[in-house]
């Protein structure tokens, strides 16, 4: 079920270097959401900017009571340009139009019988994983988070994962926290040690996703990648968000409706 509704801002907190957590009241959307799916959110109560911004579900709930189910969801966002800059000015009580849940998220249960799902996040690509980790824990599936960022200031939300019983592996490009370098280094080690026991879910910038896809391909480990693109509509009509399909007849897949999460072998990028 898909909803086009007005959502109310409940909170908008700064968490790190230009990284914010936005809480929105939208029971219909919150109840229908799945990890890896997204909403198209108006960035500001004013008519500018024209297009809505795609934003992933970061956390759902907490619910008012078990009977009513969740009523709110959270978005973790980073200032990237004019629209996300405007989002930082949102205050409780503001209303925005919102369309969602959209797209195909991560599989709730991994495909084969892996012992562990490895979540690989690059920067703000962390956004879908608190919700994902919570669902995996609910299904009794083991998970590990590998979380890379430029520097310590961009690392947020580590406690969420600790509360879910995880011990995130942190990597920064400048070494200010955790291991120095890129997330693909610890990923390559895990693939090396346990190639039959893991499946990888990744979200982050394109260069990181390409590197993750390569490590997984070479190690024979299945991977799911959450892709990004400029998305004018988010529901499959503008054809603005194509990614090349990895199939003999060629052509493009729509990131918004065929994705945003794809199996590594579905796409050529």
């Amino acid at each position: 079920m898909l909803f086009e509704t007005q959502v109310e801002v409940r909170a908008n907190k700064i968490l790190g270097a230009e990284i914010f957590l936005l809480t929105l009241h939208a029971p219909d959307i919150a109840r229908a959401a799945l990890p890896g799916q997204f909403v198209m959110l108006q960035a500001s109560p004013s008519p500018e900017p024209l297009l809505r911004r795609p934003m992933s579900f970061c956390q759902i709930g907490p619910s008012g009571s078990p009977a009513t189910g969740p009523e709110t969801f959270r978005i973790l966002y980073q200032v990237a340009g004019s629209g996300t800059r405007l989002m930082t000015r949102l205050v409780p009580g503001d209303t925005l139009s919102c369309l969602g849940p959209l797209g195909r998220g991560f599989p709730l249960l991994p495909g084969g019988h892996p012992r562990r799902v490895v979540l690989v996040a690059g920067g703000i690509g962390l956004a879908p994983f608190p919700f994902m980790a919570e669902r995996l824990r609910g299904s009794g599936i083991a998970w590990t988070l590998l979380y890379g960022a430029r520097s310590a200031g961009q690392i947020v939300g580590v406690d969420w994962f600790r509360q879910l019983g995880g011990d995130p592996v942190l990597v920064t490009e400048d070494g200010s926290v955790g291991e120095k370098g890129f997330v693909t280094a610890p990923l390559a080690r895990m693939v090396e040690e346990d190639r039959d026991g893991i499946e990888v879910y990744a979200c982050g910038p394109d260069p990181m996703l390409r590197a993750v896809a390569r490590v997984c391909r070479e190690g024979g480990v299945p991977c799911r990648l959450s892709l990004e693109a400029v998305m004018p509509c988010g529901f499959g009509v503008c054809l603005g968000c194509g990614v090349e399909a990895n199939r003999p007849e060629g052509g493009y897949l729509r990131i918004c409706t065929d994705g945003p999460v794809f199996a590594g072998e579905e796409i050529r990028f």
Binding site: L2, E4, E48, P49, L50, L51, R52, S97, L99, A229, V230, P232, C233, F235, G236, V237, C238, L239, G240, C241, G242, V243, E244, G250, G251, Y252
Partner: protein
Amino acid sequence: MSAPMNLAVKLGPLHLKNPVLTASGTFGYGEEFEPFLDLNRLGGFVVKGLSCRPRPGNRSPRTWETPAGMLNSIGLENCGIDRFLEEKLPRLRKYRTAIIANLFGETIEEYCEVARKADAGEGLAALELNISCPNTARGGIDFGCDPEATREVVRAVRDVTSLPLMVKLTPNVTDIRPLAEAAQQGGADILSLVNTFFGMAIDIRSRRPRLSTRHGGLSGPAIKPMAIYLVDRVRAATDLPIVGIGGIRSGEDAVEFMIAGASAVQVGTGNFVDPLCSVHVLEEIETFLEKEGIQELRGLIGSLPR
């Protein structure tokens, strides 16, 4: 509650129950909007541009947002006329609204082939010809930028179809009037305008174009004043019914086009911002007429003194 207002309009041979259509390339094949709105509410909808054979479209990035608008270079990706007729159209026939096929080609023969097939398809109310396409036989200059080519292609298509024929004009010309006249001489029943304006954006850090194709087409509220200007110019050059297109997001935008001379409108980019935009435009036109005490659309259309 007053009696429902009669918003029916006649565009030459094409009769619409209301003047709100959706624009090609912004409404998919119609079915994508089924979760959001009752397609029967619309005066009609124009489907994604169709060609003889399927087209994969351009490489990404294909879109970029600009102030009050967006650039696109989708590259006319579509499933091809055959698949549209076999798979999409049969499902759409149940709707009591005008389904309009938007067609394009790269040669006159291709335009005729796709039009002949569309003409044989059951359930189409009209054809809209997109002539903002490079004419390969004439060194790639768009059909719609050349009055001679416009006349020729419209005449050739006119000969292979008896459906109402709408010709969609490009704004990328110095003077639109000779093109409007050429389309009329070729046998167009209706003129729709405008298609997107050529535009470009550059990433100043990487110093590369934002679109993979370097240039693209600009749409959205940013183009509305230019589109209204062109409706005013075309109205002075022909007496064919006009369908106004360009940046329409509200009933008031639509009314502005109608006062300028448009008998109907198409909502384009607005559908991306709000999938219910077309229905809101319709409701707001009704509200406007009621508030202003206008009984019939005829009192509005072309009411701007010439």
